[in-house]
């Protein structure tokens, strides 16, 4: 179900996908946004009430001009929870969304019951440089993002429309999304989480695609070593787009951790 939520006296308007029932669970998308391939949301809806908001600047959500940095972003999610009347929820954050979810907890652990970080951004290691996704050409995306770049999913996800009009629409959509993401990821995806990660007290699971070529699994240690009690779980045959590529394993890991 698609809903629209207005926050902070109209500063933000949030388009949100909502599924199922149960304990609330927020899914925070990465820099590519919610693109319609997220069948795992419905599956998670069997056990949770799933909220998947489009971050302002993505989809139909507005108010990006009121968000300058990751702290503003985290407070935006606090505000969204307030408006929904949710005191505490499970958070699953993918890539850039993992960076936001970490900050949400670091600011106020009482809002985050369980934290699942999926190939999260937020750190930079000189020994493991993250490829420049912003400079990547459309044809280069599939190998960067997927374990199997030739799979039907990877091909569909990175398909280039042959029709000029559709190409323009896609191009402008990509510009909008990546421009928004650039506030948090450009030129390197480090906005000081290393100073604040020690504040995260919520039980944390760090999920990583074993063959993630965008943010290599080496980054998992950065999270588990800075967040007390955080546990690492590698999922095989998965790249950066782990929830899409290994939906069953992803949903099981989330379920087991949040229900456990």
């Amino acid at each position: 179900m698609n809903t629209t939520q207005t926050l902070a006296n109209g500063k933000f308007s949030v388009e949100m996908q909502v599924y199922g029932s149960g304990e609330p669970l927020f899914f925070l998308h990465g820099a590519a946004g919610l693109s319609g391939f997220e069948t795992f949301l419905e599956e998670l809806g069997r056990d949770f009430k799933v909220y998947a908001p489009h971050f302002p600047g993505f989809g139909e959500s507005t108010g990006n001009e009121h968000i300058d940095d990751v702290i503003d972003a985290a407070l935006f999610y606090h505000e969204l929870m307030d408006s929904l009347g949710i005191a505490s929820a499970n958070f699953v954050g993918h890539s850039m969304g993992g960076m936001f979810a970490s900050e949400i907890a670091a600011l106020d652990n009482s809002r985050v019951k369980k934290l699942v970080l999926v190939g999260p951004a937020g750190f930079w290691l000189d020994a493991h440089p993250i490829p420049d996704i912003f400079a990547a050409q459309l044809t280069e995306l599939a190998p960067l993002l997927f374990d199997d770049p030739n799979s039907q999913l990877a091909q569909a996800f990175t398909a280039i429309p042959s029709d000029m009009k559709a190409l323009e629409v896609m191009y402008i959509e990509r510009v909008k999304r990546f421009a928004t993401a650039s506030k948090f990821l450009w030129p390197l995806p480090d906005r000081g989480l290393k100073k604040r990660a020690y504040r995260i007290k919520s039980p944390t699971l760090v999920l990583w695609g074993a063959s993630d070529k965008l943010i290599p699994p080496a980054y998992a240690k950065e999270f588990t070593s800075r967040i007390a009690g955080a546990r690492e779980q590698l999922i095989k045959d998965a790249g950066h787009m782990l929830p899409f590529e290994q939906q069953a394993a992803f949903c099981k890991a989330v379920r087991d951790f949040c229900k456990g």
């Binding site: 912003f134 400079a135 402008i172 510009v175 990546f178 421009a179 650039s182 506030k183 030129p187």
Partner: protein
């Protein structure tokens, strides 16, 4: 009609197979391709060329800012302008310009431009480009989403610092200063003429029109392709009821003069090829960071200067095509005169930025082309737009106040140490001073 002799200062020695072997002339070009000893020669050649243009009566000498780029070796154009300020006397210094969003704090630009204006006796034209995506986003790490906001804020700070006569505090989003108190201040009041170089962003038309700044379209595609952008600018000016003064518009054009049309092809063809096929070989991923251009500009269908689309348009072009499609205006003085007059009239352009050294062009050819242009083309075109007043050129100091540098004599006036290593020059001159 006014003419600015504009230098990009390219590296002239990229290998033959550059385009096949490397993906970009900009941002991630391998450092091993740069030889500082050749660089020494090039900077000095290029400054000689600009100084020669000063003697040949050009109205302006143009320099600009690029980073990590083999066709533009001026990370700091102000250093070049400082050198020219001392070694030239007639022409204006067209610094086109400083990418003001990159300076932290941007007050640095207000200071350096003030210094240049004072040293040169009020000959500065201050250019404020947004800067290319390659320079700003990829080389200098500016966040694409906030680049323009930062640019406008820097502009407000710099122009206010020039205009205000009292100390003020500046509480911007990107720059916060308790004491803005410019010292020195520019000679030109309230400030040097401001020119805004653009590559076709529609927002820039409005910005120029609203502030009465000169709009300079810096294109490498020539006047035929450039007409779309020029028309866009004039449309905005007309819509806003602004005077359609040709001097409010600048345009960059490749120009090369020889004895005859045939000789021009012999002289310049290979160097044009070097420029268009090696110098402009830019990896498409660097051409346009997401958010660098606004959605409005993308929808206006204005093509970028570099990247795949641009390369596609140039694919397989030969000398004849470059000439026919207007990328290059070249030939005998008469040919250049005729085509340039058509071009300037069609664009309604009063300030021409002439790219006369291009690609691998060696000094002797640059000199020939420059001299032929100055003697046999420029005088015939001076009267164009004479019915309009040029409000975008500097107001320099009167002759009787204008300082001239002491004549240069590089001979050492004190002997160097004779027992081996020579002493540092600073020590020599310090001793020379105390001996007086």
């Amino acid at each position: 009609m006014k003419f600015t002799w504009f230098h990009l200062m390219p590296y002239r020695f990229l290998p033959e197979d550059f385009k096949d072997k490397y993906r970009s002339v900009w941002v991630d070009i391998p450092q091993k391709l740069y030889d500082p000893r050749l660089g020494h020669r090039l900077y000095n050649d290029y400054l000689d060329q600009l100084e020669f243009a000063d003697r040949m009566g050009f109205d302006g000498l143009g320099v600009n800012e690029h980073h990590q780029n083999a066709y533009g070796m001026m990370p700091s154009p102000n250093i070049m302008a400082a050198s020219l300020a001392r070694r030239t006397r007639n022409a204006n210094l067209v610094v086109l310009g400083n990418s003001i969003a990159l300076y932290n704090p941007p007050i640095r630009v207000a200071e350096e431009f003030a210094m240049l204006d004072v040293i040169s006796g009020g000959r500065l034209i201050a250019g404020f480009p947004v800067g290319t995506s390659m320079d700003d986003n990829f080389c200098y790490g500016e966040v694409p989403a906030t680049l323009r906001e930062k640019y406008y804020e820097a502009h407000d700070l710099i122009t206010k610092a020039w205009k205000e006569t009292e100390i003020f505090a500046f509480n911007g989003k990107y720059t916060k200063l308790r004491y803005v108190n410019l010292w020195p201040k520019p000679i030109q009041k309230p400030h040097p003429p401001i020119w805004i170089p653009g590559g076709g962003s529609v927002e820039t038309y409005d910005f120029c029109a609203d502030h009465a700044y000169q709009y300079s379209f810096l294109s490498y595609f020539g006047y035929i392709a450039g007409k779309k952008v020029a028309d866009g600018y004039w449309e905005v000016m007309a819509k806003k009821n602004k005077p359609l003064n040709p001097y409010s518009m600048g345009f960059a054009q490749v120009v090369a003069v020889s004895e005859t049309d045939e000789q021009a092809e012999k002289d310049y063809s290979a160097h044009m090829d070097y420029f268009y096929n090696r110098c402009l070989h830019v990896y498409n991923g660097f051409a346009d960071a997401p958010g660098y251009r606004t959605v409005k500009t993308i929808k206006a269908g204005i093509l970028g200067q570099v990247g795949d689309q641009a390369a596609l348009r140039r694919e397989g072009l030969k000398w004849k095509d470059f000439i026919e499609q207007g990328y290059v205006i070249a030939g005998s003085p008469k040919t250049v005169r005729d085509r340039l007059t058509d071009a300037l009239k069609s664009l309604r352009c009063g300030h021409l930025m002439m790219l006369m050294q291009l690609g691998s062009m060696p000094p002797e050819l640059v000199r020939k082309s420059t001299e032929l242009f100055a003697r046999e083309v420029m005088p015939h075109m001076r009267s164009l737009w004479s019915e309009w007043e040029d409000k975008w050129s500097p107001k320099r100091l009167p002759e009787d106040e204008f300082q001239r540098p002491a004549p240069v004599d590089f001979e050492l006036k004190v002997p160097r140490s004779t027992n081996g290593a020579s002493r540092p020059a600073a020590q020599v001159s310090a001793e020379a001073r105390s001996a007086k």
